[in-house]
């Protein structure tokens, strides 16, 4: 006889999530995960100036805002056929990478750690789950680093602000490039801040994850899910077509090149409907339908070849062939694998930022003068700490006619599809062994690993 278990809210994520599970004989046999709050303002872009999208869509996420600014700009630049200057490309890469590291630190220290170490009476961190194995010495060190992570995240935003105006919600990313040219003093300032960030990532963050890995090795076997991964490609290099992280998909760990037109949306489990336009096209407009039969989430489900795919650091590291993640083999698709991928990506990115800062040439024009055409359709893609971001825009008479944003939630929290498939997070929870009664910490760890 299956037992029903509802966890609502699953907090500490960017959006609160409702988990509905069925357990039998100490294992999760079915799982549903949906967000219970509507956050979709693309329809308010209708009739607006195309350039406004770059600012407004950043408000999709207070954590992954840079990716939205960049994706919106890229969609417009595709329409106008603008080729970015070197400064613009490098500056955007730096912002995107910093935002990813910021997201990874937030994820590990704010979302993940409280499931492994108790927070004794300090501030809002109350309570603590069961199954605590980390030694008191290591725990103290991790607590110290948790506080330190606030400072590092602050420094990351500061570094973004030096070249980007302010953070959260960055201002220098605009259609045609960036607004601020690189100056020597900015580069020096950023390099200096980066040193501190690098040290923290390579030492503290790395050690803390090792502590978790050593104490909870079985979590390399928990929370696997299907081995489907997707990345839209990020960090354009010198040549226009080259990406540091390639645009690829993998089904059961077999990677292929991504074909963008195979991305579609599936609102079977979403509280959304298509008022007009072809059903399933990500470029179609959508309207909210609260209480829609069969719906259980405010996430707009996204699929590739009608299959759900996991996005995020793990997907990117698998698809770009990161040596550490590759060595893990199929174990990479696991709770610890996801933590590890975020760390490996952070380590890789701090190195690349150093390189990009060196390549920045003071005095080069930061933005190209160009006009957005009056009519057209385009899509802009970007990667964020949580996963891929896609913006679909269509213009009519110089104004936005339709706008649609798919972010990491659309992929990782894709609600059940037409074909009866589960989303990656749901898939990962199924099969998880649940130890005791009450809120099972194992499930929380799996759910928060995305």
């Amino acid at each position: 006889m299956p037992e029903r278990l509802v966890i609502h809210p699953l907090n500490r994520g960017v959006r609160p999530v409702k988990l509905e599970l069925e357990t039998e004989a100490g294992r999760v046999i079915s799982a549903k995960a949906g967000t219970t709050y509507y956050w979709d303002f693309e329809n308010s872009l209708k009739g607006k100036d195309p350039l406004d999208a770059v600012q407004l869509t950043q408000r999709t996420s207070g954590l992954d805002f840079v990716s939205h600014a960049v994706a919106a700009s890229r969609a417009l630049e595709e329409l106008a056929a603008v080729k970015l200057t070197g400064t613009a490309k490098l500056t955007r890469n730096i912002f995107l990478a910093l935002d990813m590291i910021h997201g990874h630190l937030t994820h590990f220290y704010q979302n993940v750690l409280p499931d492994y170490i108790p927070f004794p009476g300090e501030g809002p961190f109350y309570g603590g789950p069961g199954d605590l194995r980390i030694s008191p010495e290591a725990r103290n060190q991790m607590l110290k680093n948790m506080w330190r992570s606030f400072e590092i995240r602050r420094l990351i935003h500061k570094m973004m602000a030096v070249a980007g105006g302010k953070a959260p919600h960055i201002f220098s990313v605009v259609f045609g490039g960036v607004t601020q040219p690189a100056t020597t003093s900015d580069i020096v300032k950023m390099s200096s801040i980066l040193k501190e960030i690098t040290l923290f990532v390579n030492n503290e963050y790395s050690h803390d994850l090792e502590n978790v890995e050593n104490a909870y090795p079985e979590y390399y076997q928990i929370g696997a899910g299907a081995g489907n991964f997707l990345a839209v490609g990020e960090f354009p290099q010198e040549k226009q077509a080259d990406f540091l992280i390639p645009a690829r998909v993998a089904v059961d760990f077999v990677p292929l090149d991504l074909e963008r037109n195979r991305i579609s949306v599936d609102y079977t489990g979403s509280w959304f409907a298509f008022p007009d336009g072809p059903e399933g096209s990500p470029a179609s407009a959508s309207t909210p339908v609260p209480g829609k039969p069969g719906g259980y989430s405010w996430v707009k489900g996204a699929v590739y070849d009608n299959r759900t795919h996991q996005v995020g650091a793990l997907a990117r590291m698998v698809l770009s062939g990161n040596p550490v993640i590759t060595r893990l083999g199929n174990r990479a698709a696991s709770v610890l694998g996801r933590y590890r991928a975020r760390l490996e990506e952070s380590k890789m990115l701090v190195n690349h930022i150093t390189g990009w800062l060196e390549q920045l040439e003071p005095g080069e024009k930061p933005a190209k003068a160009a006009e957005v055409p009056e009519e057209g359709q385009a899509a802009g893609f970007a990667e964020a700490s949580q996963g891929s971001v896609a913006h679909y825009i269509s213009l009519k008479k110089g104004k936005i006619d339709r706008y649609n944003v798919l972010d990491s939630f659309s992929w990782n929290l894709c609600p059940g599809t037409r074909g009866g498939q589960r989303g990656p997070l749901e898939e990962a929870m199924v099969g998880t062994a649940v130890a005791g009664p009450g809120v099972p910490v194992e499930v929380l760890r799996v759910a928060r690993s995305f």
Binding site: P9, K18, L51, F150, K399
Partner: protein, 354 residues
């Protein structure tokens, strides 16, 4: 006894802005005063509504006090969805329990707008022990009544902001539409500066409610216009305007909303006084304004376009078009005057008579 007077505190909050922001002048006296004020320990309950959570993200950029000092020594943050170890029923039950125990004594901080449509179905923040969903709007009505003070952090919580942008299918509103206006302090911005959040909290803890402007925002931080204190004011006065992204100069022609927006960004600066929007050659988008974003769009144009039946045009085009049409019309009329002999010809006729 307070270790610091209100006057001193206000001076620190505003005058210091010219130097490096509240953050840097967070002198030990203030910290001391805080500890004394916090002895009464009014718990702070932070609720996230329909928001992108950028406001919490901005709060974390606070320096002097840093997050650790703020959370462990200054404010008694009893509830925050981003930090709590608990999930599910435990999480919501704890929240209602804390609110019940501290009735009339806690500070409620809300980030994000409140959707009212379909009885609040657009935002369910969790469920109670019986498994019934709790809507955000119901929760806030309840908590708002019990709270001593309510702070709306960010433009969404204050005025609806991005969440309430047209067409607003979820019928999102700001907090003052849910809870009485008199109880709510608005700390608008998208997101607000950490100093604005911390400074407002500080003022409440130390001296009670700060003086508010027409829109319920602490005058301490929202008194001046961005444009009046802009470091690029000289460019404006000398008519040096940036026409393209990436150019230096006054950003008015690129849509800067500084002349219409209140806030101390130009003097306080953002992210540890590193920079701010205009310093990065990016126009102000008016994010602290109650009319953000609907009425401050287009962000990158100085004036909205004129929409008529079947036509959209810029005000400049209409104006210049009118001017040209008039010139053509008058020239045609002048020609008519000649042709009908109203002017010019008459004199010839008179000469002919002689």
């Amino acid at each position: 006894m307070k270790a610091i007077s209100r006057r001193q505190f206000l001076k620190l909050c505003t005058a210091s802005a010219a130097a490096v922001g509240l953050s840097q002048s967070w002198i030990p006296a203030v910290a001391e005063a805080f500890k004394k004020a916090a002895a009464g320990d009014p718990p702070v309950l932070w609720i996230q509504g329909s928001a992108c959570n950028g406001c919490s993200g901005s709060l974390m950029n606070t320096v002097h006090p840093g997050m650790r000092e703020l959370l462990t020594e200054i404010i008694n943050l009893s509830h925050h969805p981003g930090f709590s170890s608990e999930a599910g029923n435990l999480f919501t039950e704890r929240l209602t329990k804390t609110a019940g125990e501290n009735r009339g004594n806690f500070i409620l901080v809300v980030e994000g707008a409140i959707p009212q449509a379909n009885d609040g179905a657009f935002n369910l923040i969790g469920q109670d022990s019986a498994g019934n969903p709790i809507t955000l709007v119901r929760l806030l009505k309840d908590l708002g009544e019990k709270a001593q003070t309510v702070i709306a952090v960010g433009s969404c919580a204050s005025f609806g902001g991005v969440a309430a942008a047209n067409p607003n299918p979820a019928d999102c509103v700001g907090l003052e539409k849910i809870i009485g206006v008199s109880k709510v302090l608005n700390v608008s911005g998208c997101p607000p500066h950490p100093d604005w959040i911390v400074g407002t909290l500080a003022h409440i803890l130390l001296f009670g409610k700060p003086e508010l402007d027409d829109f319920g925002r602490p005058k301490l931080f929202y008194r001046g216009l961005i444009h009046d204190n802009c470091p690029r004011r000289q460019y404006f006065d000398n008519s040096i305007f940036a026409r393209r992204f990436g150019e230096n100069g006054c950003l008015l022609e690129l849509g800067c909303k500084g002349p219409l927006t209140s806030g101390d960004c130009p003097t306080r600066l953002w992210n540890e006084a590193s920079s701010w929007c205009v310093s990065a050659n990016a126009p102000c988008i008016g994010c602290t304004d109650p009319s953000f974003p609907d009425l401050t769009m287009p962000f990158f144009k100085r004036m909205p376009e004129i929409k008529g039946p079947g036509i959209t045009s810029t005000a400049d085009a209409v104006g210049i078009g009118l001017g040209v049409a008039t010139a053509v019309g008058l020239a045609a009329h002048l020609a008519g005057n000649y042709l009908t002999g109203r002017i010019g010809r008459k004199k010839q006729g008179e000469e002919g008579d002689i």
